[in-house]
């Protein structure tokens, strides 16, 4: 069995959308500091925590593409490493949108994890 390119693109698209989902979840989670009700409502117009809602929406959308991508004949050995591309995107967005410091520890940790995901993929033939 060979994984069609269309399935690879579906998974890549899923991880790209998912990385933005994480950005919106983080940004929406910041409003929870004011209390649990802020999971849904918000002080400012439109009085609705649209960031959190958008994050959940993007997450659902990304998992829809994942499900379509891992359907047979999609092979996990090829598709798993593509999911970890999303981790690299997220590191970039964390720097751009939240000004989080990119320390050497984070780079080493991420590199080892991505390597691990690639290995798990290679063993999933």
């Amino acid at each position: 069995m060979k994984t069609p390119v269309s399935h690879m693109l579906l998974v890549l698209l899923g991880s790209f959308i998912g990385s933005f989902g994480a950005v919106f979840l983080k940004s929406g989670a910041g409003q929870l500091r004011k209390g649990w009700m802020h999971m849904v409502i918000s002080h400012e117009p439109p009085f609705f925590n649209w960031r959190l809602a958008s994050g959940i929406g993007l997450y659902l959308l990304s998992s829809y593409f994942f499900v379509l991508g891992i359907r047979p004949p999609g092979e996990l050995s090829v598709l798993y490493p593509m999911v970890s591309v999303g981790y690299i995107f997220t590191l970039l967005w964390s720097r751009i949108f939240f000004k989080e410091p990119l320390t050497r520890v984070k780079f080493i940790g991420l590199f080892v994890i991505v390597l691990g995901v690639v290995f798990v993929g290679l063993g999933s033939k």
Partner: protein, 132 residues
């Protein structure tokens, strides 16, 4: 409860930073269970139609667990750094590999074993970095 948030930032810095990693840890266990259910559902899916997905019980149960795990992720992100916590989600692969071995009797080969060890190692590196 929220009035003390600004004042306690300095005092509770250490425990407040450890807790998010623990929350993401729980989130990955639920996420792995969700993925196993979703994979089972995906194998039995007739087509990409929304109706076919809505009536697929394993797939929908997977989505529910995914929802709970997302909730835990949101709570973790409230206090933690996104760049630190997001890669920890890769722990899901470790649980999925173990669950696949137990449920679907998938084989565990040297590649998978090495991958699991590397992921755990990478998460340990991030966990140590988050404590500082």
């Amino acid at each position: 409860m929220s009035a003390t948030a600004a004042g306690s930032t300095q005092i509770s810095d250490q425990p407040a930073r450890r807790q998010p990693v623990g929350l993401v840890f729980c989130c990955t266990i639920l996420g792995a269970a969700a993925q196993v259910l979703m994979k089972t559902g995906a194998n039995h899916m007739a087509g990409p139609g929304v109706l076919g997905m809505a009536t697929n019980l394993p797939l929908m149960s997977g989505y529910c667990l995914y929802g709970i795990s997302t909730l835990l992720l949101v709570l973790a992100l409230k206090d933690g750094e996104l760049s630190l916590l997001y890669p920890v989600i890769a722990l899901t692969y470790v649980w999925v590999t173990v669950l696949s071995f137990l449920i679907f009797h998938d084989d565990i080969n040297p590649w998978k074993l090495a991958g699991i060890v590397l992921i755990v190692l990478g998460v340990a590196v991030l966990g140590k970095g988050g404590k500082r």
